[in-house]
């Protein structure tokens, strides 16, 4: 048995259904005070795939020392995580209605008090090192956990990502799996126009990692990639998932100004209709880059 194999067989319809519902939650959170909607929508399919299929995890296993870990290093994409956690029963859907209410902990970055959230990310460039620490500890315990860390592509500007990547390769931490949400846009502009990242795959490969590149919106492709791990035996792996910012809402896709997005309540019906296949909505409310 390959220790990195997916926990379950792929149920394509389910992955898609969970993603669709999670997207709806994201859009609703954007209508409750705004959120980093564009950044969230680009990784919904990845998170839906991981939670439905790859991870050895369930709402009943959150304290299980042998559970798999998902760490959202691009913490601002938390609506996607909360959306998926709500759909799968980790947290009640009603809790998302308390977005930005000071009595609760549902805000623009993940809070560890929310069931299913392993760590409070938000400051970019931390996830790789923390994930490595968890993975090293699991290895120390001879425990089978896999540790998946989801990074933004803009986040790869942070030197601490590469520092930890070097150490992970040095220690040959096979159970560490990074996923790069490669939507090609960072806060204010295309990644390649600011600090070019390509060739990303070669960079990770040169750092001693196994590398796979897939369409991050295609569950079948994601499943094939995760099923092919480890790409290099006894090495950490990275899956570069090509994605689209704002995926699922054609009116928002690939737009620099739809990173953070506050939607007026009256605009919500048109956006939800668009999500479910209707015509593209026209928004009067402005989104923003940084």
């Amino acid at each position: 048995m390959n220790p990195l194999a997916p926990a379950r067989a792929l149920e394509l319809d389910r992955v898609r259904a969970v993603a669709l519902q999670a997207r709806q939650h994201c859009i609703e959170m954007a209508a409750r005070g705004g959120c980093f909607l564009g950044a969230a929508l680009s990784c919904v399919d990845i998170l839906s795939y991981l939670y439905t299929t790859y991870l050895q995890l369930s709402p009943e296993r959150l304290e299980d020392p042998e559970r798999d870990y998902l760490l959202l290093s691009k913490g601002h994409a938390v609506p996607a995580l909360y959306g998926v956690l709500a759909v799968l029963g980790y947290i009640p859907e009603e809790r998302l209605h308390r977005h930005l209410q000071p009595e609760d902990a549902i805000y623009w970055h993940p809070n560890r008090s929310v069931p299913g959230v392993e760590f409070h990310f938000g400051s970019l460039g931390h996830g790789m090192a923390v994930a490595l620490g968890i993975a090293l500890e699991c290895r120390l315990c001879r425990s089978p956990n896999r540790v998946v860390v989801l990074l933004g592509d803009g986040e790869l500007n942070e030197g601490s990502v590469w520092e930890a990547a070097l150490v992970a390769a040095a220690y040959r931490v096979e159970q560490l799996i990074a996923v790069v949400d490669r939507n090609r846009l960072q806060a204010n502009m295309p990644t390649e126009e600011l600090i070019p990242l390509e060739p990303i795959a070669e960079k990770f490969r040169a750092f001693g990692w196994g590398v796979l590149r897939v369409d991050g919106h295609d569950p079948t492709a994601l499943h094939a990639a995760f099923s092919a791990l480890p790409e290099r035996p006894k090495r950490p792996s990275v899956i570069i998932a090509d994605t689209v910012r704002g995926k699922g809402l054609p009116s928002m896709e690939n737009r620099v100004d739809r990173w953070f997005c506050a939607i007026r309540p009256e605009e919500l019906p048109a956006l939800l209709a668009e999500l479910h296949g209707g015509a593209a909505a026209t928004l009067s409310s402005a989104g923003s880059a940084e």
Binding site: F119, H120, A129, G133, I134, E137, G159, L166, V167, A170
Partner: protein, 305 residues
């Protein structure tokens, strides 16, 4: 084996949760790697990764003891300490090597004269500043087993004094009569100089009570409050900037309680100190026992002590 290595080894043997980490700062751990086995991890010259990894290990229920040079540990990795360790209040223990004046010949790049200020700004972070290796070993078990994160200034200096008083978090080690007209608060390697200053003051017929703070956080507020009842002058002595260390802490303490008492802060003004072997550095910066006594004596006439 040094006393510190032996103390770590004992902790490793006693408690499975303890893991030793270093960012290739092995000076204090030379003999430990083969003995600690898998529970020793060296991440290389990578302080941010050191802290992120320590946080991850602590999330799994272990107690990491992470080593790096004090200046780089507390400053290069500050935001990792504050964010990964501080926000989650993980029981990560941070050991800073060559702190304060112990940077000796390294110069300003390696001088951690603001580490206390920085670590103190993190809610829940304890700070342990032993005067010497013997006191480090004495306090280590309590600090390591405490549920909160701790920053430890590692003192590779010979014993300042024989430490006979029991160690407790937030409890200073007292030398002298608590009802003396002068109370001196000190931490770390300067205890030795302050005890010498205490003798010089005594030879002038002036009684001074010395409080070796041991843990700067939690501060021994009981000792401080008691000193305010008897002393006419409070003196703070530290190899740290005057802002943010115990000079500031004592001032905050007095202000919060509306106590008016003169304070003589003997600390580093806002500049870097000379780069030299410790003895020369102390003399050049005015921190030998003799110089500390002179500075206190000079302050007395104005106070009518």
């Amino acid at each position: 084996m040094t006393p510190y290595e032996s103390a770590l080894l004992e902790l490793l043997q006693r408690d499975e949760r303890i893991v030793i980490l270093t960012a290739e700062n092995r000076a204090a751990l030379r003999n430990l790697p083969p003995l600690a086995g898998e529970r020793f991890l060296d991440v290389g010259i990578a302080e941010q990764t050191l802290i992120g990894v320590a946080a991850g290990i602590a999330l799994r229920g272990r107690i990491p003891i992470a080593h790096a040079l004090a200046a780089f540990l507390t400053m290069r990795a500050f935001e990792f300490i504050r964010t990964d360790v501080g926000i989650a209040r993980l029981p990560v223990k941070l050991v800073g090597g060559f702190p304060g004046f112990l940077s000796e010949g390294n110069g300003p790049t390696h001088q951690s004269l603001e580490d206390i200020a920085l670590m103190r700004s993190i809610p829940g972070m304890g700070i342990f500043c032993p005067a010497d290796e013997a006191e480090l070993v004495l306090g280590l078990p309590s600090v390591v087993m405490a549920p909160q994160p701790f920053y430890i200034r590692y003192p590779n200096v010979p014993a300042a004094v024989k430490h006979t008083q029991e160690f407790a978090l937030g409890k200073a080690e007292r030398f002298g009569d608590p009802e003396s007209p002068i109370a001196i608060f000190v931490y770390g390697l300067l205890l030795r100089e302050v005890l010498e200053a205490q003798e010089i003051l005594a030879s002038h017929g002036i009684g001074a009570c010395v409080y070796n703070l041991r843990t700067v956080v939690p501060l021994d507020e009981e000792a401080l409050l008691n000193a305010t009842l008897h002393a006419r002058l409070l003196v703070t002595v530290e190899d740290h900037f005057r802002h943010g260390g115990i000079a500031t802490m004592v001032a905050e303490f007095l202000t919060e309680r509306r106590l008016a008492l003169p304070v003589l802060p003997i600390a580093v003004p806002s500049r870097w100190v000379a780069a030299a072997p410790l003895a020369e550095l102390l003399r050049h910066e005015g921190f030998t026992g003799e110089q500390i006594a002179e500075r206190i004596l000079a302050a007395l006439p104005a106070l009518g002590v």
